[in-house]
C-alpha cells in the first residue's frame, strides 16, 4: 500500500477469475469472427480452420460463465439474473447475450454445418456412436440436394447474424468495464471497441495455435496458405488493436484529467511488468514485427524469405506471445483498475491466492477445461477437412459444402 486508500478498498473484489472471464469470452468472439471470414467473406485460404474455429468457440463459450459463477458470493442465486434482471444494469444482460450467442448463433451454425456429416456418420457408424449421431441429427436425415442447399443458406445467414452477435458478446463485456464512471482507468467509450479488437486478435492467434499443434499431433502437413493467411489476418487485427490502444493512451495523456497522476504512478510501478513488458513489448510489438517480416501481410511475398518449417515455428511463437499479451491486457484492465484508490491518492496491491475457489489453480483449471471440452468435441465432430464425410457420387454437386479434401 502506498498513499491513502479508502478503508473499504483494502480488499480487491474482482480477482483472477474475473480476468479469465473476459479473456475466455474474447477467444470465443475472436474464433467465431475468424470462422465467419471463410463463410461470409469467402476467404478460401482459411477454410481448413473453419470448423475448428467454430468448435473452439463453442468449447470456450461453455466455460465462459464458470469463472463468473465461481466468483459470486452466492452462486446458487445466480439464476435471479434471468428471472428478475434489473434492466438498467449492464451485467443483467449477460444471461441474455450469452444465451442468444450460445443457442441462436453457435449451436445452430454448428448443427447446420455438420448436419450432412452427422447423417452420413450415422449411416456408416456402428454401436453407440450410431445412436449418438442419430440423436445429434435431431431426426433430420434428409440428404436431398434441396435440404443441403437449405442447410448452407441458413448457415450463411446465421453467420451473418453471428458477426454482430460476436461483436455484441465481447463489446458488451468491454461495456461492463467501460461504463463504470467511478473508475477512471475503466471509464472509456473506447473500452468495448478495444475489447473487441483484442478479442479478434486473441481468437485468430488461438485458432492458429490449435491448428498448428493439432496438425502436428495428427502427423498431417500444415496448409501453409492457410497459416500464412491466418498470420496475415493476425497482423492486421493487431495493427488495428494497437492503434486503438494507442489512441486511448494518447487521449488520456492529452486530456490529463485529475486521475492522470495516479494512473501514471499505476503504470510506472504496479503495472510495469504486465503492461509495458508483457502486454506492449512481448505481446504486441515483438509479434507485430515478426509477423510483419515473415508473413505475407504487407506484400504478396513476405519481406523476409524464411523456410516453411521455420516460419511455422515463428507463427506459433508469435501466436503464443499474443496470447500472453492479451491475457495481460485483461489483467491490466481488471486488476489494474482496482490497484489505485478512487480517492486518487494511493495504490494498493493484489495478492493472488493459490488455492481456494478464487485462486490461481482454479483459474488455471478453467483455462485448461476448454481444451478438454474441445478434445471431446473434436472426437465427436471431427473438424478436419480430410475427415469430412463425402456424399455418394450421385448426391454430390449440390451439397453446398465448399470443401474438398486437402492434400
Amino acid at each position: 500500500m502506498q498513499g491513502f486508500i479508502y478503508p473499504n478498498e483494502f480488499e480487491l473484489h474482482w480477482g483472477i477469475l474475473v480476468v479469465v472471464y473476459p479473456y475466455v469470452t474474447g477467444l470465443v468472439a475472436g474464433a467465431f469472427i475468424l470462422a465467419s471470414l471463410e463463410r461470409v467473406f469467402n476467404v478460401k485460404e482459411v477454410q481448413p480452420t473453419y470448423r475448428l474455429a467454430l468448435l473452439t468457440a463453442l468449447a470456450f463459450l461453455l466455460v465462459a460463465p464458470l469463472p463468473l459463477l465461481a466468483h459470486l458470493g452466492h452462486p446458487l442465486r445466480s439464476y435471479e439474473i434471468f428471472l428478475t434482471p434489473n434492466r438498467q444494469s449492464a451485467m443483467a444482460m449477460f444471461g441474455f447475450v450469452y444465451a442468444w450467442y450460445l443457442m441462436v448463433v453457435l449451436l445452430l451454425e454448428i448443427w447446420f454445418d455438420y448436419r450432412k456429416d452427422l447423417v452420413l456418420w450415422y449411416q456408416s457408424e456402428k454401436g453407440w456412436r450410431r445412436y449418438l449421431y442419430y440423436a445429434l441429427t435431431l431426426g433430420a436425415t434428409d440428404l436431398s440436394e434441396k435440404s443441403l442447399r437449405f442447410d448452407d443458406k441458413v448457415g450463411r445467414w446465421i453467420t451473418i447474424i453471428g458477426i454482430p452477435s460476436a461483436f455484441l458478446l465481447h463489446g458488451y463485456v468491454g461495456f461492463i468495464f467501460g461504463s463504470v464512471k467511478a473508475n477512471p482507468w475503466w471509464s472509456s467509450v473506447l473500452m468495448p471497441v478495444v475489447f473487441l479488437f483484442s478479442a479478434i486478435v486473441s481468437g485468430i492467434a488461438l485458432v492458429l495455435i490449435i491448428y498448428m499443434i493439432s496438425s502436428m499431433v495428427r502427423w498431417k502437413p500444415v496448409d501453409m496458405r492457410c497459416a500464412d493467411k491466418l498470420a496475415a489476418f493476425l497482423f492486421y487485427a493487431m495493427a488495428v488493436d494497437v492503434s486503438l490502444e494507442m489512441l486511448d493512451f494518447i487521449h488520456r495523456l492529452y486530456e490529463s484529467e485529475e486521475s492522470i497522476g495516479i494512473l501514471t504512478q499505476l503504470i510506472e510501478s504496479r503495472l510495469f511488468t504486465s503492461l509495458i513488458v508483457l502486454q506492449l513489448v512481448l505481446g504486441t510489438l515483438v509479434p507485430l514485427l515478426v509477423l510483419g517480416l515473415t508473413s505475407p501481410a504487407l506484400s504478396k511475398e513476405s519481406v523476409l524469405k524464411v523456410p516453411d518449417e521455420l516460419k511455422r515455428l515463428i507463427y506459433l511463437g508469435a501466436a503464443i506471445l499474443v496470447q500472453i499479451g492479451i491475457f495481460s491486457i485483461r489483467y491490466n484492465v481488471v486488476i489494474g483498475g482496482q490497484l489505485f484508490s478512487k480517492s486518487l491518492r494511493g495504490l494498493t496491491v493484489y495478492k493472488a491466492e493459490l488455492l481456494g475457489i478464487e485462486g490461481l489453480l482454479m483459474a488455471g483449471a478453467l483455462l485448461i477445461l476448454p481444451f478438454i471440452i474441445l478434445w471431446v468435441l473434436v472426437k465427436v465432430l471431427p473438424p478436419w477437412t480430410d475427415a469430412e464425410a463425402q456424399l455418394p457420387a450421385s448426391g454430390e454437386g449440390g451439397a453446398g459444402q465448399p470443401t474438398g479434401a486437402l492434400p
Binding site: P7, E11, L72, G73, S78, Q88, S89, S343, R345
Partner: protein, 265 residues
C-alpha cells in the same frame, strides 16, 4: 392535581409549613418533568410514529466539517449498531484526516477508519497549512451508480431516499462495489453479500436518528428531512454553503457538507 391541604394536626410553625409544601411541590414538578426530560434524550429529531409511511419522508444528512473533532464516536456507534465487523477494512462510516502542507502536498490518513481517534502525526519538511477531519459514509445518491449496476435489483432506493441492499437477494457479484465512487460499499465476510450504510434505517422507522448522528458530541452530523420542514437539517442547509463529494459524476448525493475543502475526494 393531588390534594395539598393535608390535615394540620401536629400544628407546625409557619416556616415549617412553607418548607414542607416546597418539598412536595418540588417532587411533584420532578414527576411531571420526567417524561419530558427522558423524551429529549430518546426522541430528539424525528417524529415518532405508530405506522411508518416512507412516502411522507425524504431523508438526508448534513456534515459540518469544521465541527468534526475526529473522536471516532460515530464510527464506533455505527459498528455496534449495525454489526459491522470490527476489523480495519469494513466501514459504513469512517473519518479521514487531511493535512494540507505549505508546499501544497496533501496527506490523508484514516487509521482504523478513525475508530480509535487519531494519533498525533510527526511531520518532516514543509509545515502544515491547514488540517481537518472529514466524516465519510454512503451518500445515498439520488442517481446511485450502485443501484444502476446491480444485475438483480438487490440494491434499491427506498421512497424516503435511503439506498439499501436486500441481503436475501444479493448474489455477491460486487459490481456495486466497483461502481461506487466513494468506496462506501464492502462485502460482508460472513454473509458474502454487499453491505453499506443504511442511514440506520431500522432506527428511522422508529423515529430515531442514525447512531452516528446521535452520538456525535459536537453536532457535526445532522440528520433529517430534506424537504419543507423546519428541522435542524433544513436550517443547516439554509445557512451554509453546501458541497457534495465528486459532483462531476452526477450521482446527486444526499449527504451535504459544509466547509468542505476542495482537496477532499
Amino acid at each position: 392535581m393531588m390534594p395539598t391541604d393535608v390535615p394540620n394536626t401536629a400544628g407546625p410553625s409557619a416556616a415549617e409549613e412553607s418548607k414542607r409544601v416546597d418539598r412536595r411541590e418540588f417532587l411533584k414538578k420532578c414527576g411531571l418533568a420526567a417524561p419530558i426530560l427522558l423524551g429529549v434524550v430518546r426522541v430528539p429529531l424525528l417524529e415518532a410514529q405508530d405506522s411508518y409511511d416512507p412516502s411522507e419522508h425524504l431523508y438526508g444528512m448534513g456534515i459540518d466539517v469544521n465541527k468534526c473533532i475526529g473522536c471516532g464516536q460515530c464510527v464506533a456507534a455505527c459498528k455496534t449498531e449495525n454489526d459491522v465487523p470490527l476489523d480495519s477494512h469494513h466501514f459504513n462510516t469512517w473519518i479521514e484526516r487531511y493535512f494540507i502542507r505549505t508546499d501544497e502536498e496533501v496527506e490523508v490518513d484514516s487509521p482504523n477508519g478513525g475508530l480509535d481517534g487519531f494519533p498525533p502525526k510527526a511531520f518532516e519538511g514543509a509545515d502544515i497549512r491547514r488540517t481537518f477531519f472529514v466524516p465519510k459514509l454512503c451518500n445515498h445518491c439520488a442517481e446511485a451508480p450502485c443501484v444502476q449496476v446491480c444485475p438483480v435489483g438487490a440494491t434499491f432506493t427506498t421512497e424516503d431516499g435511503a439506498v439499501l441492499v436486500d441481503d436475501e437477494y444479493c448474489i455477491g457479484c460486487r459490481y456495486c462495489i466497483q461502481a461506487c465512487p466513494y468506496g462506501a460499499r464492502w462485502l460482508h465476510p460472513e454473509t458474502h453479500v454487499a453491505a453499506k450504510c443504511t442511514f440506520c434505517y431500522h432506527r428511522l422507522v422508529d423515529g430515531l436518528v442514525p447512531a452516528c448522528v446521535e452520538v456525535c458530541p459536537t453536532g457535526a452530523r445532522l440528520f433529517g428531512e430534506l424537504e419543507g420542514r423546519a428541522t435542524p437539517l433544513a436550517r443547516f442547509m439554509r445557512f451554509n454553503d453546501l458541497q457534495v463529494l465528486k459532483p462531476h459524476l452526477n450521482t446527486r448525493p444526499k449527504v451535504y457538507y459544509a466547509n468542505l475543502d476542495g482537496e477532499v475526494r
